[in-house]
């Protein structure tokens, strides 16, 4: 009431809505950030596209020349490229399955009341705050090391001998490490989603005779489906570019056993010094990522509708 009085007393101070809308252009105000963003994106992309049509090897920079689609045909006919795509898919899918599966399970567990709940939640979420390089190093040197690693010591203590993870099961080792890093993320989102489930719905289902499994299947899972779709989308985008964990542990090996697309491009560019080939690979990766992203966006958007 007091504000309306104030406005009446000073009508001239009323904000001139018309003017702000029509006459003051906002373009000069947003232009700097738009331009910076464009430069930031367009310049590297243009350069990459430019390089991808050239023969350009840093070992022999003088022999730079336009070769059309040569780099693309070379990469697409390189068996290593297809292997790396296969490994990328295996990596993404298996980590998604593990993080979402375990994440859902843990979210339901952490939703229950138990003593020390607060601390347990913080602990469960903390791996997410460890940077990938560091967590990969920890796993490599403290957990999975065939001599000093905790896992090896335990299995040896049980008389089972030790596994040399990075030599014998390299891809599985990477999957475990990445899952460990991303499980907290899935857990966090799914836990908040599960906490938003109306408790009376669960009770209604119990009255209807739902046992825990039916309860999960018919009430919780449908409620979580949105959150799961969002987690899947965000994680996929990050998993397509996993790099640090591979770089720190296996270096893409043995052979090409843990070389994903990102690492393949890195190998091309920095170990073979083939800028042209690496750019072509990068563009292929961008196109693939966009295709995946479009599919994911579609499915998530549809999910958010219903």
């Amino acid at each position: 009431m007091s504000s309306s009085l104030a406005v009446d007393r000073h009508p001239e101070t009323r904000p001139p809505e018309q003017r702000t809308r029509r006459q003051v252009s906002t373009l000069p105000l947003v232009a700097p950030s738009v331009i910076a963003l464009l430069l930031w994106m367009i310049v590297p992309l243009a350069m990459t596209i430019g390089f991808s049509f050239q023969r350009y090897n840093l070992l022999n920079p003088d022999a730079r020349e336009f070769i059309g689609l040569g780099n693309f045909t070379f990469i697409l006919s390189d068996p290593g490229f297809w292997i790396s795509i296969g490994i990328t898919i295996i990596l993404v899918v298996s980590v998604l399955v593990i993080t979402i599966g375990l994440g859902t399970l843990l979210a339901i567990l952490f939703d229950q009341e138990f003593p020390g709940q607060g601390i347990a939640r913080v602990l469960a979420i903390s791996p997410f705050f460890v940077m990938p390089t560091v967590s990969a190093l920890i796993w490599k040197n403290m957990l999975m090391h065939p001599v000093n690693g905790l896992i090896a010591q335990i299995t040896r203590g049980l008389g089972l001998g030790a596994i040399d993870w990075f030599a014998n099961l390299p891809l599985l080792a990477i999957i475990i490490i990445v899952s460990w890093e991303w499980l907290p993320f899935a857990l966090l989102i799914l836990l908040t989603a599960i906490q938003s489930l109306d408790h009376e719905q669960i009770e209604a289902a119990r009255m209807d005779g739902a046992k825990p499994i039916a309860l999960f299947r018919f009430v919780m899972l449908p409620h979580l489906s949105r959150a799961i779709a969002v987690v899947a989308m965000i994680e996929t985008i990050f998993f397509l570019t996993i790099f640090a964990e591979i770089f720190v542990t296996t270096g893409g090996g043995p052979g090409l056993a843990t070389t994903n697309l990102a690492y393949y491009i890195f190998l091309k560019a920095l170990l073979e010094f083939d800028v042209g080939g690496a750019s072509a690979g990068g563009l292929i990766a961008v196109i693939l990522a966009n295709i995946v992203a479009i599919f994911l966006m579609r499915s998530v958007a549809r999910n958010l509708d219903t």
Partner: protein, 384 residues
């Protein structure tokens, strides 16, 4: 046959006792309403009957069998929740048929059953909609339908109408009454709405702080409240209370001294009260009259609330107490007028120092058949 019996039921949360020993018999086909102030344990008690909360101690019997350890779905009860608690990703038909689906009834059969129930509740055109495409009243009806599908022995309702607007609430109340009439099942209903309690109940259970204050038919609670709490809780607006001093005790009544010299004789049986004791006199706003010729008390009108058909006057009397007086809609009183209030001793209630009501010499005439035939009572009451 479906009776529910509570024997010394307790509920303890880690360190607080919420339900402090409740004994209650609910007869077959009875409509029982739990009322009480917020936080008194109505929902907790209902949920213990449903099996959603453990019973800390005491026995819960359904049809004479102890069911303390029987899971909720095996007790033969169905519950309607305040927030409806429909499954948002299922259609109306699937919502209603969910319990049958869990029980392994074939699809054809369970959808048929859902359709039958939908017919009773006029939900047929909505069977393929999702809950979010329904109005509040329709959702509530689906929730009732979901309970109906299971053919329960006892229906439990936890404030089922409190999320509806006033008009819809009246309509749903009537529908519930006729549903009870046609199904003839036992129903237990939690509310803090007076009107719902008075109109729907065969038997009202007034709870406070985890104990039963009084159990009785709506009119019994209205005419013979057992203590100050029930007297103040039942009836709207609230009963007026005045502190009085006993000046004479006879077989036919007790005379008390009101603030400001006037005295009133109340037809109650002789009791622990003796001359000189302090007591509390209670009289409902609808039983006070404005009468300049025989004023018992005089005071100043502080507020006039006109509802159209009736008018409530808030009158401050000598000694500072405020009385609420209900008069008809045409009453010309205005703020700051002088009001002459007549108190008829026949309508008064008298409470001793402990707040316990003192028995009247006569029962109210509508109450004589109450105990023998509780179901008849509702009919006669509604016809009134």
């Amino acid at each position: 046959m479906s009776t529910v019996t509570l024997r010394n039921i307790h509920k303890q949360y880690t360190d607080v006792e919420i339900i402090k020993g409740i004994d209650l018999d609910i007869n077959d086909r009875e409509f029982v309403v739990f009322v009480g102030p917020s936080g008194c344990g109505k929902s907790t008690l209902l949920r213990m009957i449903a099996g959603l909360e453990d019973i800390s101690s005491g026995d819960l019997l359904i049809d004479g069998e102890r069911v303390n350890d029987v899971p909720p779905d095996k007790r033969g009860l169905a519950m309607v929740f305040q927030t409806y608690a429909l499954y948002p990703h299922m259609t109306v038909a699937e919502n209603m048929a969910f319990s049958l689906r869990l029980a392994g009834v074939p699809k054809q059969q369970r959808l048929e059953r859902a359709r039958d129930v939908a017919r009773i509740l006029q939900l047929e055109p909505l069977l393929n909609r999702k809950p979010k495409e329904l109005s509040g009243g329709q959702r509530q009806r689906v929730a009732i339908g979901r309970a109906l599908v299971r053919n329960p022995k006892v229906f439990l309702f936890d404030e089922p109408l409190s999320n509806l607007d006033a008009a819809l609430r009246v309509q749903m109340r009537l529908e519930l009454a006729s549903l009870h009439d046609s199904l003839q099942t036992t129903m237990i209903y939690v509310t803090h709405d007076q009107v719902e309690a008075m109109t729907l109940a065969d038997k009202i259970v007034v709870l406070q702080g985890g104990v039963v204050e009084q159990v009785g038919s709506p009119l019994e609670l209205y005419h013979q409240p057992r203590n100050l709490f029930v007297a103040g809780f039942i009836g709207s607006p609230k009963m007026n209370f005045l502190t009085v001093t006993v000046s004479a005790v006879n077989d036919s009544g007790t005379t008390v001294q009101l603030p400001g010299d006037a005295s009133v004789t109340i037809p109650v049986k002789p009791s622990s009260l003796s001359v000189g004791d302090r007591a509390t006199l209670g009289i409902r706003p609808e039983h006070l009259r404005l009468d300049p010729n025989q004023p018992t008390l005089t005071g100043e009108v502080l507020v006039v609330e006109r509802l159209g058909g009736e008018t409530f006057l808030y009158v401050r009397i000598a000694g500072g107490d405020t009385l609420i007086v209900q008069t008809d809609g045409d009453n010309p009183s205005r703020t700051h007028d002088r009001a002459f209030v007549h108190i008829n001793g026949d309508f008064c209630h008298l409470f001793d120092q402990n707040g316990e009501s003192i028995a009247k010499t006569r029962r109210h005439h509508l109450m004589n058949e109450t105990h023998e035939q509780p179901y008849q009572n509702r009919v006669s009451y509604q016809a009134e």
